[in-house]
C-alpha cells in the first residue's frame, strides 16, 4: 500500500510537470511584410446601406439601400483585370434600360468626370427608356488605376438614386483600390475566344425577333418589339466557371426587374428543371408588376451559358412560347 501511495504522489507530480511544459495556447497578433499579391478593394458602407452576400457572383461587393419598404436598389463593386472600353461596360446595362448600343464616340456625351479624394471617377447615368411606371436608373461609376478598371453600378428607381447621391459619393470616396498581380474576383467581361470553345453554339430564333450585332459579351443579341412600343431584350452569354452560382445570378436578375432578392429556399418559386441540348439545365421565370424575366441556365464542361429574355411583362408572356422554342433548338455544337 505504501509502495502504491508513494508511487502515485510522485507520478502525479511528474504528470503536472510534463503537462506544464506545453505552451499556453492563445491567439497571436503581429505585423509582417505585406505579401498579398491580389487586388485590394475595401470600403466603408454608408449607415443606411446593407450587404447582399448571396448576390455577389462576379462582384467583389453587392449592397442595397435600407428603406422603410425593405432593401431597395443594387449597388456593386466589379473589378476588371484590364482597362476595358467604357462603351463595353455601359452596353452591359444599356440594353436592359432600352438604350441603343453605344460606341466610343456616342458614349462621350454621357460621361461626367468627378474628383473624389484626389481621384478621378467617370460617371454615366442611364435613365430607363422602357418602363412607364417605376422608372429605373443606372448610375455607373468607373475608376481606372494601374491597368485595372473598377466599376461601381448603382441600379435603382430614379428617386432612390437621387436621394442616395451623397451616400454614393461618400462610398466612392471611402474606397481603397489597389490592383494586384492576381485577379480579385471577377473576370474580364468577354467570352472565351472561339478557338478555346472549339465549337460554336447554334439556335433558331423567331423571324420577328430583330437580330442585333453581337458584342464582346453577347454571342446572341436580339430585340423583340411590341405593337405599342414595348420591347424585350434577349441575350445569349457564356462565361468560364459558374460565375457565382445560380443564386447569385438569379438574384442579380431579380434586381434588374425590380424584384426582391431570394435565398436558396426561395429559388424554387422561380426555378424549374429543363433539358437543353440533352443536358440538365434550369429554367427561371420571374414576373413583377410590369417586367418579366425568362432565362435558362446551363452548366456544361466548366462553363456557364445564360439565355435570357427580359422586358415588358405582357409582351414577354406572349413571346414565352417562342422563347421555349428557342431553348429547344439550342445546340452547343459539341456532338
Amino acid at each position: 500500500m505504501k509502495f502504491f501511495s508513494s508511487f502515485l504522489i510522485l507520478f502525479a507530480a511528474m504528470a503536472l510537470f510534463i503537462g506544464s511544459c506545453g505552451e499556453n495556447e492563445k491567439a497571436r497578433s503581429y505585423l509582417t511584410k505585406n505579401e498579398y499579391e491580389g487586388a485590394v478593394a475595401a470600403w466603408k458602407l454608408p449607415e443606411d446601406w446593407g450587404e447582399n452576400p448571396s448576390a455577389l457572383g462576379i462582384m467583389a461587393g453587392s449592397f442595397h439601400v435600407k428603406t422603410a419598404e425593405g432593401p431597395m436598389g443594387r449597388i456593386g463593386v466589379m473589378p476588371f483585370r484590364e482597362s476595358v472600353d467604357i462603351s463595353t461596360i455601359i452596353n452591359m446595362f444599356a440594353a436592359e434600360l432600352g438604350h441603343p448600343d453605344y460606341n466610343q464616340t456616342s458614349i462621350l456625351s454621357l460621361i461626367q468626370e468627378i474628383r473624389l479624394e484626389n481621384r478621378s471617377f467617370e460617371l454615366v447615368r442611364l435613365e430607363d427608356k422602357k418602363a412607364n411606371t417605376e422608372p429605373r436608373s443606372a448610375l455607373l461609376a468607373l475608376y481606372r488605376a494601374e491597368g485595372q478598371t473598377w466599376l461601381f453600378p448603382f441600379v435603382a428607381s430614379r428617386k432612390l438614386i437621387d436621394e442616395q447621391l451623397e451616400n454614393f459619393h461618400a462610398f466612392l470616396s471611402s474606397t481603397i483600390l489597389r490592383s494586384g498581380s492576381t485577379p480579385l474576383r471577377a473576370i474580364n467581361p468577354s467570352p472565351v475566344p472561339p478557338s478555346t470553345l472549339g465549337h460554336q453554339p447554334t439556335w433558331e430564333a423567331p423571324d420577328h425577333w430583330q437580330r442585333k450585332p453581337t458584342t464582346s459579351i453577347r454571342m446572341g443579341n436580339y430585340v423583340v418589339s411590341g405593337e405599342s412600343g414595348e420591347s424585350l431584350d434577349f441575350s445569349i452569354t457564356s462565361f468560364p466557371g459558374d460565375v457565382g452560382g445560380i443564386l447569385a445570378n438569379v438574384n442579380r436578375w431579380l434586381g434588374q426587374v425590380g424584384m426582391d432578392a431570394t435565398d436558396e429556399s426561395g429559388l424554387s418559386r422561380y426555378m424549374s428543371d429543363r433539358m437543353i441540348d440533352e443536358k440538365p439545365a434550369k429554367l427561371v421565370i420571374a414576373e413583377s408588376n410590369d417586367q418579366a424575366l425568362y432565362a435558362a441556365i446551363l452548366f456544361h464542361e466548366g462553363r456557364s451559358w445564360f439565355l435570357k429574355l427580359m422586358g415588358d411583362r405582357n409582351l414577354a408572356r406572349s413571346e414565352k412560347k417562342n422563347f421555349i422554342g428557342l431553348l429547344d433548338s439550342f445546340c452547343l455544337g459539341d456532338h
Binding site: 505504501k2 509502495f3 508513494s6 508511487f7 510522485l10 507520478f11 511528474m14 504528470a15 510534463i18 511544459c21 506545453g22 495556447e25 492563445k26 491567439a27 497571436r28 497578433s29 503581429y30 505585423l31 509582417t32 511584410k33 505585406n34 505579401e35 498579398y36 491580389g38 485590394v40 478593394a41 475595401a42 470600403w43 466603408k44 452576400p53 448571396s54 455577389l56 467583389a60 461587393g61 471611402s174 481603397i176 489597389r178 480579385l184 474576383r185 466557371g241 459558374d242 457565382g244 452560382g245 445560380i246 443564386l247 447569385a248 436558396e264 428543371d273 434550369k282 452548366f299
Partner: protein, 427 residues
C-alpha cells in the same frame, strides 16, 4: 527491519529520512520497467505499420498509455484481436524509471569514492531520461521552403494549423491575427482586440475529403450551415475523416466558423488547409482558389482568412542564393544536397552559409538541416529544429563515460595494488 551490515552509517541515516522512497527503489521494479519498455518498443514497432511513425510515436511514446489490439494475422488473432490491451506509454515508463533511479540514488547507493563510478553512471542515465522528456516537451520541428532567389522569414510547423486573419489594406505591412489549432479544437467564441469581429468556431477537424457539388444540390455535413465565402460560392461538401499519421499522409484540416459584429452574425465561413501550401488551391480548381485568401471587408479594411500551417515569424530572414545536388554515378541516388544561403538579421548583419547533409546552419537556438530539394522547381526545404535541451544527452553520455572509467580504473588500481602486495609477500 534491520539494515544489512555492509550499509554505511550515512546510508542508514538517508534510508531513515527517505523511508517512504524505499519501495520505489526496488531493483525488481527497475527490471519490470525495463521489460515493459521492451514490450512497448515491440508493440509500437508493430503499430507503426498501421499508423505510421508519427502515429505510433504519438499513441505509445508521447502518452501515459496506449491501447493495442493483437494483430489479426498472428496466431489466434481472430479470437484475440477484438480485445483492447492497455500498454504502458513512454511517459509512464520513462517517468517511472526516473523515479525508480532517483529513489535508488537516495536509499540504496553508497555515496563513497569507491562507488562514485556507479553513482555517475546512474546519474547519467537519469539525465538521459530527463533529457528525452524535456526534448519531447520542448522541441519544435518546422520547415522552411525557399524558392531560389527568394527570401523567407518564417517557419511552418510540420503538424498543426492556424486560422489566420490577415489585414492587407496597407501596402507595406500586414496585420495578422492567428488562432492556433489547439484553440480551434476547443470550439467556442474567441475575441482578439486587433480583430474588428469576434470568431465563433463551430467545427474543426484535422482531415477531410471535399468536393464541389452541382449548384442545385445542397451541401450537408460541416458545411451545411456555411453561407459566405468560397465554400458557399463553390458549394463545397466537406466530409470529415480521421487524421492520417502515415509519413505520406496528406491531411486537409478544416474549420467552420462564424464571424460576429457585436451580437450580429456576419455569416458562416469554412476554410480548408492544403497540406502542401494554400497556393495549390488555384491549381486544383480556380473556383476554390480563394481558400488561400477569403476576403472579408470591415470598417474600410480588407481582411483575408485562411487555414494554413502554423507559422512562426523570425527576427531574421534567409535568402536562397543557389542549390546543387549530386548523385552517385549512374544512379538516381543522391549523395549530397547543398543550399547556399544568405542570412540577414534585423540589425543589417548578414552571413553566407552552405547547408548540406550533416552540416546544418545554426542560428539563435535553431538548427536548419537540409531536408528536401527540387532542382527542377528551384526550391529547397530546410527542416528547422529548436531543442533547448539538445546538450543534455551529450552531458549524460559524458557522465556515464566518466563513471565507467572511474569504476574500471578503481577496480584496476585495486587489482594491481593487490597483485603487487601479493608478489611482494611471495618474494
Amino acid at each position: 527491519m534491520a539494515e544489512p551490515k555492509y550499509f554505511s552509517s550515512s546510508l542508514i541515516q538517508r534510508r531513515k529520512n527517505f523511508a517512504w522512497l524505499i519501495p520505489l527503489a526496488d531493483l525488481r521494479l527497475t527490471l519490470t520497467l525495463l521489460s515493459l519498455s521492451m514490450v512497448l518498443i515491440f508493440v509500437a514497432t508493430l503499430e507503426q505499420v498501421r499508423v505510421g511513425i508519427r502515429g505510433a510515436q504519438s499513441e505509445f511514446f508521447e502518452s501515459f498509455y496506449g491501447i493495442w489490439h493483437y494483430p489479426e494475422q498472428f496466431w489466434w488473432g481472430e479470437f484475440l484481436h477484438p480485445l483492447p490491451i492497455p500498454i504502458p506509454g513512454g511517459y509512464l515508463l520513462g517517468g517511472s524509471l526516473i523515479i525508480n533511479l532517483l529513489a535508488a540514488f537516495l536509499t540504496r547507493f553508497q555515496w563513497t569514492g569507491k562507488k562514485m563510478g556507479i553513482q555517475l553512471i546512474h546519474f547519467g542515465i537519469i539525465l538521459l531520461l530527463v533529457g528525452q522528456l524535456a526534448t519531447q516537451a520542448l522541441q519544435e520541428e518546422s520547415r522552411m521552403l525557399i524558392n531560389k532567389g527568394g527570401t523567407v522569414n518564417y517557419l511552418e510547423r510540420f503538424h498543426g494549423v492556424e486560422l489566420a486573419f490577415i489585414e492587407v489594406t496597407n501596402p507595406n505591412s500586414s496585420r495578422v491575427v492567428a488562432f492556433p489549432q489547439k484553440l480551434l479544437q476547443q470550439d467556442g467564441l474567441h475575441y482578439f482586440p486587433d480583430l474588428p469581429f469576434k470568431v465563433r468556431v463551430l467545427q474543426f477537424g484535422p482531415n477531410c475529403d471535399f468536393k464541389a457539388l452541382p449548384p442545385a444540390i445542397r451541401a450537408t455535413g460541416p458545411s451545411e450551415s456555411v453561407n459566405r465565402g468560397v465554400a458557399q460560392s463553390a458549394n463545397l461538401q466537406i466530409i470529415p475523416k480521421p487524421e492520417d499519421f502515415s509519413s505520406e499522409g496528406m491531411n486537409f484540416a478544416y474549420v467552420v466558423f462564424e464571424l460576429l459584429d457585436g451580437a450580429h452574425s456576419m455569416g458562416v465561413w469554412a476554410a480548408i488547409s492544403h497540406p502542401a501550401g494554400n497556393h495549390f488551391w488555384a491549381q486544383i480548381d480556380p473556383s476554390i482558389a480563394d481558400l488561400a485568401f477569403q476576403p472579408i471587408r470591415k470598417n474600410g479594411e480588407l481582411w483575408g482568412v485562411s487555414l494554413r500551417a502554423e507559422r512562426e515569424y523570425l527576427p531574421y530572414s534567409i535568402e536562397l542564393l543557389g542549390i546543387s545536388n549530386e548523385f552517385y554515378q549512374g544512379t538516381d541516388i543522391p549523395y549530397n544536397f547543398e543550399s547556399e544561403v544568405l542570412l540577414r538579421t534585423d540589425d543589417n548583419q548578414s552571413r553566407r552559409a552552405l547547408v548540406y547533409m550533416n552540416t546544418p546552419l545554426r542560428h539563435e537556438g535553431k538548427t536548419f538541416y537540409q531536408y528536401q530539394m527540387n532542382k527542377a522547381a528551384d526550391y529547397t526545404v530546410f527542416q528547422v529544429v529548436r531543442n533547448p535541451s539538445w546538450l543534455i544527452p551529450y552531458l549524460a553520455c559524458i557522465l556515464v563515460s566518466i563513471g565507467l572509467l572511474w569504476q574500471f580504473s578503481f577496480h584496476l588500481a585495486r587489482f594491481l595494488s593487490r597483485n603487487a602486495s601479493s608478489n611482494h609477500r611471495t618474494a
